[in-house]
């Protein structure tokens, strides 16, 4: 049973990595959301598999909380708060073109491996496995998504993907995190979606765009000069 669970968990993390790449590159906003949901499902799957593997019941709770909050509530909440037309949007130009962005993302994954190595060597063997390096990669790729995206919803999903990455590493490292904390973190994710959704709506109303990455009124100008207003 053990090799099956190990391999399946590794597979879940591998596909998790792929979704993280996808979120860097995916043009359609809706596709991005679907990728994020898939990623959350894979996170939950990894939690269940690790739970089975190490008979750690806490992890089932993590999986359930993750599914309920990120797969069910989050898309619903996003639909309620953010303007609806956002879903039909395609992002034509990102900050970098897609192949370049993907290559940088690849470099980040390699970097995350080297970041993970010393940590892996420091923890007990049962905590080793692909979760930690992939989690770090998810964290870095989420941050990278935020830097290359301009549209509001993909940016938000990048933020949540960072949290997913941290959690993917977390379920391997901190297996017995109290469920209360998990619940609180999940709720926090929902508040993030709510606040960002409200902000996005306000920005769309006031500025007339949801490409928030293009807002650049706030800049430094030399003292005495007229500020660009």
């Amino acid at each position: 049973m053990t090799p099956w669970l190990d391999n399946l968990n590794a597979l879940a993390t591998g596909l998790f990595l792929l979704t993280a790449f996808g979120m860097v590159a995916m043009r359609q906003v809706r596709g991005c959301l679907n990728l994020f949901i898939l990623q959350s499902v894979l996170l939950a799957a990894s939690a269940v598999l690790l739970g089975l593997r190490y008979s750690a019941g806490d992890l089932y709770g993590v999986a359930i909380v993750g599914i309920v909050s990120k797969v069910i509530l989050l898309p619903w909440l996003l639909r309620k708060t953010a303007p609806a037309e956002i879903y039909t949007r395609r992002e034509v130009d990102q900050v970098l073109n897609i192949p370049t962005a993907l290559l940088i993302a690849l470099a980040l994954v390699i970097l995350s491996y080297f970041l993970a190595l010393p940590l892996l060597n420091a923890v007990a063997p049962e905590f080793r496995g692909p979760n930690l390096p992939i989690g770090i990669a998810g964290l870095l790729l989420g941050a990278f998504t935020i830097t290359v995206r301009r549209e509001a919803v993909p940016l938000l999903l990048g933020l949540l993907a960072m949290e997913n990455g941290a959690f993917l590493a977390g379920i391997a490292l901190a297996r017995h995190l109290p469920l209360l904390v998990e619940l609180a973190i999940a709720t926090d994710g929902l508040i993030v979606v709510f606040i960002v959704g409200v902000l996005t709506r306000a920005i769309q109303k006031q500025v007339g765009t949801t490409a928030v990455g293009e807002m650049a009124h706030l800049k430094e100008t030399p003292a005495g000069g007229e500020a660009p207003r």
Partner: protein, 497 residues
């Protein structure tokens, strides 16, 4: 005072301000709740300073209880004080901004929630819960930053939220690594600050250091440490002035407190190396901020950069060695909080009177509105460390400690940057207050319509807030009351571990 009550008060106030009532209801409730918190926290601080054990309230296993020590009481005290003065300032100031009852409810509800989230940070002891409280401070203040609903305010709020949450994501990973380090250490106490200190000697150094760096970077983003500071001048300048006072004066410090909590843990471990990281990052922040604030054109941004500088000073001080400069660092925490909030009140008063945020558009303020002008120049002198005010005393203590500890290079650089910042800020403020020259028309998109000729008088509440806020700035420069001194010593001791 029960610590639970402390957290429930702002929550109750949040609910109460949502009730439909006349326009004095929401500010009144907020003020009363802030005052009650202030009184409660002062009593707590008094007991703490007297060395008595403090009630801890609601000690269930779930949250590992709520506990305070000298360091957290100090932070609580500052939060309560600034929340009160900002609540007073809001009464008059926000009447110029709030147009509808709905907007008023939104402002005060968010205000109280924001205060709640900040109060939660020092009293919680489980690091992951503290992380959630940190997230809540971002989320509760996001709508306050965007309150004016202009393009700039929304952009600032967006940057603030995205970068803070990015940092929070990194910090979350750091806290999880810390949890893993604690599990690996085999000393399975509760995952609390004190439990961490107990487990630190047995933790794998790599994990501990990785966790520390991740948290330093992650939460450092929210503190505004330099490579991650880009959002701070925007958010801290675009928010309404009382909110700026909270954000700049105390929110940054509260988040910095979380980082400071890790220092005793790293000191307890064999190979901590926390000090050198703190010193390097702190000096970078001070230096970069000192040079960056030379070229700003918006006086609220100027103050925001000064916040970056002061956060750097505190971190550097801690890095100089908690045993030598810990007291100075704590003193700096206090003096920065009270002074910076005063400065933002002064800036708010100037904004109210002139209607522009541009430095170049304000000249000869002292002749037009003596109170606003005097407040601004006083605030400028106070924040840059002119004697005999609070910041001067604390910076002096830090520099002296640095020399005692034989960190000549770091201390020299710190002194140099402080002097540069002094000239940068005073140059601008001097021109604004005393400078001759025509009033330029205020550019479009300013928060207030330009006022010419008859300048409006400041509302009574703003005057009151200015005077109340100025009191500690003046007093703490020459005399630190023994209870506070006691508290500072205890806080510095908590820093040492």
């Amino acid at each position: 005072m029960n610590l639970c009550l402390l957290l429930l008060l702002p929550l109750a106030a949040t609910l109460l301000v949502c009730l439909p009532a006349n326009k004095y209801w929401a500010p009144g409730v907020t003020l009363v709740s802030s005052l009650m918190i202030l009184v409660g926290v002062m009593r707590l601080a008094w007991l703490m300073a007297a060395g008595q054990s403090v009630m801890t309230g609601w000690n269930t296993g779930l949250l590992h209880g709520l506990t305070v020590d000298g360091l957290s009481v100090l932070i609580l005290l500052l939060i309560a004080f600034i929340a009160t003065t900002a609540a007073i300032f809001s009464i008059g100031y926000m009447e110029h901004q709030i147009l509808t009852p709905w907007k008023r409810r939104l402002y005060y509800a968010n205000y109280n929630l924001f205060v709640f989230s900040m109060l939660a940070i020092p009293v919680l002891v489980d690091p992951t819960l503290v992380w959630i409280a940190v997230e809540l401070t971002t989320l509760c203040s996001a709508l306050l930053v965007s309150f004016e609903n202009t393009h700039e305010a929304l952009e600032a709020a967006w940057k603030y939220v995205v970068l803070s949450l990015m940092g929070a994501g990194i910090a979350l990973f750091g806290f999880l690594v810390l949890f893993a380090a604690m599990q690996t250490s085999g000393r399975g106490g509760a995952y609390t600050w004190s439990g961490l200190i107990a487990a630190a000697p047995a933790m794998p150094p790599v994990l501990l250091q990785a966790a520390f760096l991740l948290i330093l970077i992650g939460l450092g983003t929210k503190v505004g440490l330099v490579p991650m500071h880009t959002w701070l001048p925007d958010a801290h300048s675009q928010a309404p002035s009382p909110v700026c006072a909270l954000l700049s004066g105390i929110e940054t410090t509260t988040i910095l407190y979380v980082i400071l909590r890790l220092f005793p843990v790293l000191h307890a471990a064999p190979h901590g190396h926390a000090d050198i990281w703190a010193m390097v990052l702190g000096l970078i922040s001070v230096g970069a901020a000192a040079f960056l604030l030379l070229q700003v054109s918006d006086y609220k941004r100027l103050l925001a950069f000064s916040t970056v500088e002061h956060m750097g000073i505190i971190l550097t001080a801690v890095g100089l060695g908690a045993s030598v400069a810990g007291y100075g660092a704590m003193q700096q925490v206090v003096s920065h909080a009270v002074t910076k909030s005063f400065c933002f009140f002064a800036a708010g008063a100037v904004l109210l009177v002139t209607g522009t945020r541009q430095i170049a558009a304000v000249r000869g303020l002292i002749g037009k509105s003596p109170l606003a002008g005097a407040a601004l120049i006083f605030g400028g002198l106070a924040i840059t460390g002119a004697p005999p005010l609070a910041v001067f005393l604390s910076e002096f203590t830090i520099l002296k400690a640095g020399l005692t500890a034989r960190h000549y290079l770091a201390t020299g650089l710190l002194a140099l940057f402080i002097v540069i910042a002094f000239f940068g800020i005073m140059l601008h403020f001097n021109r604004m207050v005393f400078g001759a020259g025509s009033d330029q028309a205020s550019p479009e998109g300013a928060a207030f319509p330009a006022r010419r000729g008859n300048l409006p008088r400041l509302p009574w509440s703003c005057r009151l807030a200015l005077f109340v806020a100025a009191a500690p700035v003046l007093v703490l420069g020459v005399y630190i009351p023994p209870p506070l001194q006691n508290l500072l010593t205890q806080a510095a001791a908590a820093l040492k571990g």
